[in-house]
């Protein structure tokens, strides 16, 4: 579904990512692991077009997309839940969710999808008219995921799923992602906790100092003794 070849990227003139090879199969859950500063967010930002690659190619559903502007990605079915949530601070929960459907034109489908998001996150329905600044951390993350889902993505990228959230909240979010995956959405999730990340994922990639240092089946990676070391960056 998504294939990244020989990708280099960063913040001009500083190159962060080097020679990245990565592929995502349709319907799978891919975990992206790596210590702080490894370049995980940089990779996701490059995939969605917030950063332009220095080298290499990004293929999505048979199309080379690395030159496309960010606002076209969502129309192709790629949505990102960015690091730090990045909600529209002065807007209500409902307005944020509706902004997520900005690229959609079919009002019937938008309403149905809004209902779907409220089914997945009932608390968002309760907080519908609240300005997002007043939400708790977990509710914000739900709102951010909900906003991304409003575009009815085929590929959902989630950066820092659990950052700053209580374990029970994270469990809830993970279960929701399982439900989303069952609907046929492909997932690429950046997650701090290696064990949790690999428990849910089908496959994983480990990024370190801007390079892919390991990849494979989630089960194999879990059993790999060097993984914890790689992750922590020793």
């Amino acid at each position: 579904m998504l294939a990244v070849h020989h990708l280099g990227s960063g913040y001009k003139p500083l190159q962060i990512l080097w020679d990245i090879e990565l592929s995502v199969q349709e319907g799978e859950w891919l975990a992206l692991l790596g210590p702080n500063g490894a370049g995980k967010s940089t990779l996701l930002k490059t995939i969605v077009g917030l950063l332009k690659p220095f080298q290499g190619e990004i293929w999505y559903l048979g199309k080379e997309i690395s030159a496309l502007p960010v606002h076209e990605m969502v129309r192709l079915g790629i949505a990102l839940v960015p690091e730090g949530r990045r909600l529209f601070a002065g807007m209500t929960v409902r307005e944020n969710l509706m902004m997520g459907a900005f690229s959609q034109n079919d009002n019937g489908k938008i309403t149905a999808q809004l209902q779907r998001v409220f089914d997945l996150f009932p608390v968002l329905k309760e907080r519908e008219k609240q300005v997002v600044g007043t939400l708790s951390g977990g509710e914000r993350q739900m709102c951010a995921i909900g906003r991304a889902l409003m575009s009815r993505p085929k590929l959902l990228l989630v950066d820092e799923l659990s950052l700053g959230l209580a374990p029970v909240v994270v469990d809830g979010l993970l279960e929701t992602l399982v439900a989303i995956k069952q609907e046929g959405v492909t997932l690429l999730v950046v997650e701090q906790d290696v064990n949790t990340a690999l428990a849910y994922a089908d496959r994983g990639y480990v990024l370190r100092e801007g390079r892919i240092v390991k990849s494979g089946e989630a089960k194999q990676l879990l059993e790999d003794p060097s993984i914890q070391k790689d992750y922590l960056g020793y």
């Binding site: 502007p69 606002h71 969502v74 807007m91 307005e95 902004m99 900005f102």
Partner: protein, 290 residues
Amino acid sequence: MLYWQVLINGVLLGGLYACAAIGFSVIWGVMNLINLAHGSMIILGAYITYVINSATGLDPFLTIPISGAALFLLGFMVQKYLINHVIEGSVFMTLILTFGLDLLLVNMTLLLFTADFRSITPSYAGLGWEIGTIRVPYTRLGVFFFALALTLILSLLMNRTKLGNAIKATSFDKDAAGLVGVNVFQVYAITFGLGAAMAGMAGSLISVLHSFSPVLGGTFTMKAFVIVVLGGLGSVPGAIVGGLILGITENFASVLLEAGYKDAISFILLVAILVLRPRGILGKQFFAEV
């Protein structure tokens, strides 16, 4: 009775000021861009009305859509082909660019129209309402009405339409707006176009009441700046409050103080508000932080 007259004049002028400042306010609020050419765009609008009026005799109020459309186009192009290329960089670059644009507009209007003051006198200029000793000319009333109507229309556009949502989302977080599918650079161009259109239409209104010359642009930019600082960034109610305060204060100052002080009033207000209440009177920022 004199004070009532002064107050009414102040309110009527304040409405016009709100309309003249709102474009500046929105451009600043959404893009963090200070348009130093705002006053010159107002003057350009006044000249468009002047040219049409002297060529065809068309009522100045009816030229509003023309000056609005012309300035929208100018603003849209300037943002799309110039400012968009440097807006990601330092604030100084955009300041220099709009400063250059200001110079260009001032010199262009000077070349075309000279520095002589021009004015437009509609047939009904001398008529008005008289209630006791208070006199309200129809022209001032008309200007006030149109100024509020235009400001209201902009407000509806910002708050009730999909375009308005895109503009607001962009002002809150442009990367997040891009992620949900908003073409941020397009939004920037439209926003600058709208701000310029509001300036041009305010210029048409000003031409009905006051004489104008290319060199007055800076004064209007200054006033817009004061109004935005008074009322808070990017907000329509803020611009109205700021406009009213400036309009009323200026009118009272012109009665109570010597004539020369009138223009110093905006400076004094500016300093006072920056010291006392740096976030503006309403203290609410509808769009991005400065």
